[in-house]
C-alpha cells in the first residue's frame, strides 16, 4: 500500500509569499512605464519633435540611459525576482531562506534602481559644480557622480557595491532551498542556480574591472564580455528556466525531453561566456579572440535549437491551444522571436556583415527584439497567468489582454524590421563616404516608423495596466477547500 501513497506536500501559502510576488510585479511595471516613456522621448528627439527640448535634466542623452537601465534592472530584474519567488519554492518544496531578507532585498533593489536613475539624471549637473571639483581634488577621489562609462553598466560607481551586495543576498536567499534539494534536479533549477552565480560574477566583472583594474583595449574586451554576458548569463538562463517551468504546467504535460534541455543548459554554460568580444570586431583586440567569439556565437545557435525543438515537441499535436491560451501564446511568440534574433545574431557577427551594420540602427532593432520581443513577452505571459491568482480576481477584460498581446507582438516586430532596414541604409551611406548629415536625413522616415511602432507597444502596455487596475477593483473570486498538507520543508 505504502509504495503508491505520495507524501503530503507543503501548503502553497507556506511556500510562496504571494504579496511579495505582486509587489515585485508592480515595481517591474512601474519601471517598464518609465523606460518606455524615456524610449518614446528619445524616439521623438530623433524625428526632431522632442517636446522637452532644452530641459537639461530631461535631455535625451540622459534619458537614453534611463531607458536601458530601467528595462534591465528595473523591469526585467524585478519581474524575474517576482517569478523566482513563485517558482523556486514550488520546485524545491522549500521556502526561500528568509522572508525578511526577501523584503529587504526588494526595498534595497528599488533603492539601487532609483539611485541609478537619479545618478544618471542629476549626476552630470552636480558634477559641474565647483564644490564637487574641489572635493575631488582635496580627497583625490573620483567624483564622476553620473553614469559610469561602461555600456549597460552606467550605474554610477557609488551604487555598484550596493548592487553587488544585493546580488549576493539574492543568491543566498534563493540558493538555500535549491542546495537543500536532494536527488536529480529539474532543468529550471539548473538554470536558476547558474544565473545567480553568473549574474554576480558578470556584474562584478563589468562594473569593477574596467573601472579599477584593467584599462584600454583589455578593459574594452571585458566591457564586451559584460554586455553580452548580461544578456546571456543573467537574462537568458532566468528566461529559459522560467519557460521550462511555466510551459509544462500550463500545457499540463511534461517537457518533451528533459535530457535535451540539460544538453542546452550545459551548452549555454560553456559556449556563451566565449562570445562577448563579438561586440568589438575590427578593434585592436587580438584576432584569435575575435574569431573565437564569432565561432562560438554561431555555435550557440545549436544550443538555441535544442530549446526550440523541445518546446515544439512539447506542444506538438496541441497547436489549437495557442489560439485560446494567451500566456502560452506570449511564450511561443517570444520563442519564435528568440529564434529569429539568435539566427540574426549568428549572421551579424561575421566580419563581412559587421562591415556594413556596425554602429547602425540594425543593432538597436536586434536589441529591442531580444529585450522586449523575447524576455519582456515571456514576462507578460507569466504576469497574465499569475496576476488573477495573486490578486484573487479574474481578468476584467479579455479584449484588453488580447490588445496588449497584439500591439506588443506586432509593434516590436515592426520596430525590428524598420530598424534593421534603417541599419542597412545607414551602413551603405557611411560606406559611400557621404557626409554624416546625409545618413541622418536618410534615416528620418525609418525613425518616424520607429516612433509609431514604439507608440503601439506603449499603448499595449497601457491597456495591460488599465486592465490590471480594473481587475484589481473587481470582485474577489471564491477559493477553495481545505485539503491535507504537510508543513513546508526547512
Amino acid at each position: 500500500m505504502t509504495s503508491d501513497v505520495k507524501p503530503l506536500l507543503p501548503r502553497h501559502d507556506d511556500l510562496v509569499n504571494e504579496r511579495l510576488v505582486a509587489w515585485y510585479f508592480l515595481a517591474a511595471l512601474t519601471f517598464l512605464t518609465v523606460s518606455m516613456l524615456a524610449g518614446l522621448l528619445v524616439a521623438l528627439q530623433l524625428i526632431r519633435a522632442n517636446p522637452l527640448d532644452g530641459v537639461e535634466l530631461l535631455s535625451p542623452a540622459r534619458w537614453r540611459m534611463v531607458h536601458t537601465n530601467a528595462i534591465a534592472y528595473g523591469f526585467l530584474a524585478n519581474a524575474f525576482l517576482g517569478c523566482l519567488h513563485w517558482a523556486i519554492p514550488r520546485l524545491t518544496l522549500r521556502p526561500v531562506a528568509s522572508v525578511a531578507l526577501s523584503y529587504f532585498i526588494f526595498s534595497a533593489w528599488q533603492f539601487v534602481v532609483v539611485c541609478t536613475a537619479a545618478g544618471i539624471i542629476l549626476g552630470p549637473s552636480f558634477q559641474a559644480q565647483d564644490w564637487v571639483a574641489e572635493l575631488a581634488s582635496q580627497f583625490h577621489i573620483s567624483m564622476s557622480l553620473g553614469a559610469q562609462g561602461v555600456e549597460w553598466g552606467e550605474t554610477p560607481f557609488w551604487i555598484d557595491p550596493v548592487a553587488q551586495l544585493g546580488l549576493l543576498l539574492v543568491a543566498i536567499n534563493f540558493m538555500t532551498p535549491i542546495v537543500r534539494q536532494r536527488g536529480p534536479m529539474y532543468v529550471s533549477l539548473w538554470y536558476f542556480m547558474a544565473a545567480f552565480v553568473w549574474t554576480f560574477l558578470t556584474y562584478g566583472m563589468g562594473n569593477f574591472m574596467p573601472e579599477y583594474v584593467v584599462g584600454g583595449v583589455s578593459g574594452g574586451a571585458v566591457g564586451g564580455l559584460f554586455i553580452h554576458d548580461l544578456v546571456g548569463l543573467f537574462v537568458t538562463p532566468l528566461g529559459w528556466g522560467l519557460m521550462y517551468y511555466f510551459v509544462p504546467i500550463m500545457l499540463k504535460r511534461p517537457i518533451w525531453s528533459h535530457g535535451l534541455s540539460l544538453v542546452g543548459f550545459w551548452g549555454l554554460a560553456f559556449f556563451y561566456p566565449l562570445q562577448g568580444i563579438h561586440h568589438f570586431l575590427y578593434t585592436p583586440i587580438p584576432m584569435f579572440l575575435q574569431y573565437g567569439a564569432i565561432i562560438s556565437t554561431i555555435a550557440v545557435e545549436l544550443v538555441v535549437t535544442t530549446v526550440v525543438i523541445n518546446f515544439i515537441g512539447t506542444i506538438w499535436g496541441d497547436g489549437e491551444v495557442l489560439k485560446k491560451n494567451l500566456p502560452i501564446r506570449w511564450f511561443y511568440c517570444g520563442m519564435i522571436y528568440y529564434f529569429i534574433t539568435c539566427f540574426q545574431c549568428a549572421l551579424q557577427v561575421t566580419l563581412t556583415f559587421q562591415k556594413l551594420i556596425h554602429f547602425t540602427d540594425w543593432v538597436v532593432g536586434h536589441a529591442h527584439l531580444v529585450m522586449f520581443g523575447v524576455f519582456s513577452m515571456w514576462i507578460f505571459g507569466i504576469m497574465t497567468y499569475l496576476f488573477p491568482r495573486l490578486i484573487g480576481r479574474d481578468w476584467y477584460s479579455r479584449k484588453l489582454c488580447e490588445i496588449h498581446f497584439w500591439f506588443s507582438a506586432v509593434g516590436v516586430f515592426i520596430m525590428f524590421l524598420d530598424l534593421g532596414l534603417a541599419g542597412v541604409f545607414q551602413g551603405y551611406y557611411w560606406a559611400s563616404l557621404a557626409p554624416w548629415d546625409v545618413s541622418v536625413t536618410g534615416s528620418q522616415s525609418f525613425w518616424v516608423v520607429r516612433a509609431f511602432a514604439g507608440l503601439m507597444m506603449f499603448s499595449g502596455t497601457l491597456c495591460f495596466l488599465v486592465n490590471l487596475y480594473l481587475t484589481w477593483r473587481g470582485p474577489v473570486r471564491e477559493l477553495n477547500p481545505d485539503i491535507d498538507v504537510a508543513p513546508a520543508l526547512a
Binding site: K252, W266, D394
Partner: protein, 126 residues
C-alpha cells in the same frame, strides 16, 4: 465590458478538458527512441565543440602567460571566462558523480506531479 472567468476556461485548459488520447505503447516506444537519439546527436554536436572551446581558451591562456606579447592584454577577459567555465566544469563532474543525470527524464514527471498537487489545494484552478 466585464467578461468574467475567461482565463480559467480558456487560458488554463486541462482541469475540465476531456483527457487527451493516450498514444499506444508502440508509438510511445518509437517516440522515446527518437527522443534519445536526437538528444545524443545534439549532445555530441554541442558539448564536444564547447569542450574544445574551453580547452582551446585554456591553451591560449597558457601561451599568453608564457610570453606571447601580441595577446598579453587579453589575459583579463580570458581569465574571466576560464574562472566561470572552470567552475561549471567542476559542477558538471560533481553532478555526474552524484548521479544527477541518472534517470534523466524523471524530474520532469515529478515536477509536473507536484505542481498539479499544489494547485489542487486551490481547487485545481489557478
Amino acid at each position: 465590458m466585464n467578461e468574467p472567468n475567461f482565463l480559467p476556461e480558456d487560458a488554463f485548459p486541462g482541469n475540465d478538458d476531456p483527457p487527451r488520447k493516450k498514444p499506444s505503447p508502440t508509438d510511445e516506444a518509437k517516440s522515446a527512441r527518437f527522443r534519445t537519439r536526437l538528444t545524443i546527436v545534439l549532445a555530441v554536436l554541442i558539448l564536444v565543440p564547447s569542450m574544445y572551446g574551453f580547452v582551446g581558451k585554456f591553451y591560449e591562456f597558457v601561451r599568453i602567460y608564457r610570453g606571447d606579447w601580441e595577446g598579453s592584454f587579453a589575459i583579463a577577459p580570458m581569465l574571466n571566462y576560464l574562472l566561470a567555465s572552470g567552475g561549471f566544469l567542476c559542477l558538471f563532474f560533481w553532478a555526474t558523480a552524484n548521479r544527477m543525470f541518472h534517470d534523466i527524464e524523471e524530474p520532469k514527471h515529478a515536477m509536473l506531479d507536484n505542481e498539479q498537487r499544489l494547485d489542487q489545494q486551490l481547487g485545481g484552478k489557478p
